[in-house]
């Protein structure tokens, strides 16, 4: 049966069988299908009742009534099947979110041990204890560890956004300070990808009130994308400035860009543009989806412009804390 994920939603719904298959539901557990069956039975039963009653049961209305009752009971049973189908789905969803929560916490334990033990090691480098080979190995371990930490954060975030248990903990902080710190952390990765990374901001910008960890995640995502999909020898520019009542953070790259016909999907979950997939096999397609949810929940806006083979500019704004 023809089924195209790009079809408008209402049209997709009419094609119930394919929708059930696409969502991995057994037909008799698939609420849309059961609903359709219920609808057909209702209509047929009403028409049949009318014909039979007006023709055969004029003298025996009790039989007509019995038929109506029997059909009603059948509909009730079907309705119950539908409801329990929905309940199973809700339960599976809840378990999925809890599972992700537990696994993320378990994963974070060894990741924090690596992170801080490496931190200890790095503190010793000032004494000239390290050969440059050793230093490189330690930096590689550090960066790889950070990558894993970011992945776990994204996994957790995406599952929370899905389950709508996503909550922000706003605090006052300096956007340029956080951005500057992140850019510094990406310098090695950028150098290894042959991309030059620049950060620009003004002093004494006002603070914003937002969830610092989540906004950091967004910035890391944008910078990671810019460097990953940048072409060798290119430049990535990150800037923070004030625009009216907002602070605006912009990430500009001269990389692969996003093909025009794929641009409207860019913030969708799991979406990766074709040229991105060709360039870099790793990538979850979740980063921009999460970024959009976080920024919009923080009363900001996130936008981009891009030209294939020329580059992309992504930016977001956050309201300034009015004192």
């Amino acid at each position: 049966m023809w089924y195209n994920p790009n079809m408008p939603r209402w049209l997709r719904r009419l094609n119930v069988l394919s929708e059930c298959r696409a969502l991995d539901w057994g037909l008799w557990q698939c609420p849309p299908f059961l609903y359709l069956v219920m609808g057909f039975i209702t209509i047929i039963a009403m028409i049949a009742t009318y014909f039979f009653s007006s023709r055969y049961f004029l003298d025996e209305p009790e039989i007509a009534a019995l038929v109506v009752i029997a059909v009603t009971i059948l509909l009730f049973i079907l309705g119950n099947l539908i409801i329990s189908g929905f309940n199973n789905i809700a339960e599976a969803n809840r378990m999925k979110t809890e599972f992700v929560s537990i696994v993320s916490h378990q994963l974070r334990s060894p990741l924090s041990i690596s992170k801080w033990t490496l931190g200890l090691l790095e503190r010793q480098k000032g004494d000239g204890n390290f050969t440059s080979d050793l230093a490189t190995s330690i930096y590689t371990l550090h960066d790889t560890n950070e990558r894993m930490i970011r992945l776990v954060n994204m996994l957790l975030e995406a599952s929370r956004i899905d389950a709508k248990t996503f909550a922000l903990r706003p605090e006052l902080f300096s956007l340029s300070e956080v951005a500057g710190g992140i850019v510094k952390n990406f310098e090695r990765f950028a150098a290894a990808s042959n991309v030059s990374l620049k950060f620009q901001t003004r002093p004494s910008l006002p603070q914003v009130r937002a969830d610092r960890d989540k906004i950091s995640m967004v910035i890391e995502n944008l910078v990671d994308n810019a460097v990953k999909y940048g072409r060798g020898g290119g430049e990535v520019w990150v800037g923070v400035e004030r625009v009216g009542d907002f602070l605006r953070l912009e990430v500009r790259d001269k990389g692969a860009g996003i093909p025009e016909e794929q641009q409207r999907h860019i913030f969708q979950k799991f979406f990766r543009a074709d040229n991105a997939k060709n360039k870099e096999t790793q990538g979850t397609g979740m980063g921009l989806y999460i970024a959009k949810e976080i920024i919009e929940a923080s009363q900001g806006k996130i936008e981009f412009k891009s030209q294939e083979r020329k580059g992309s500019t992504f930016w977001f704004t956050l309201p300034i804390k009015q004192t």
């Binding site: 041990i113 992170k115 801080w116 200890l120 930490i149 922000l168 903990r169 969830d211």
Partner: protein, 122 residues
């Protein structure tokens, strides 16, 4: 010398944090579970407590509660160091009287030290 009490069951983390804090001139006590944590808090009266949430014997929330209910200990600032996701647990921890909540994987060692120094200066 300021005294810090670190309540955390993962000994590798104890080692890393204690090493850095001692370099920075702090005196560090380590507790590997909630009960030892409370005992050491009463004995040593630290200037600041670093508290994990998932602990054997008594979990971090119980420890926090007991610290804040003890008139001698309630004014000691408590920084939560946990890997449980912020949104769930922060509210609860802050309501119980914690000063700050840091997710361990999101902070470098030296950033944690900065937070400690910042809290002690207030």
């Amino acid at each position: 010398m300021k005294k810090i009490l670190f309540i955390e069951d993962e000994s590798a983390l104890q080692r890393a944090v204690a090493s850095v804090l001692k370099e920075e001139g702090f005196e560090v006590s380590s507790a590997l579970d909630g009960e030892i944590g409370i005992r050491l808090a009463k004995e040593r009266k630290p200037d600041l407590v670093l508290l994990d949430l998932v602990l054997p014997k008594k979990d971090g929330f119980e420890v926090l509660k007991e610290l804040k209910e003890n008139p001698e200990l309630k004014d000691i600032p408590v920084i939560i160091l946990s890997n449980l996701e912020k949104s769930d647990e922060v509210g609860k921890a802050l309501e119980l009287g914690a000063t700050t909540y840091l997710v361990k994987t999101n902070y470098q060692l030296n950033e944690v030290v900065e937070k400690i120094k910042g809290t002690l200066e207030k």
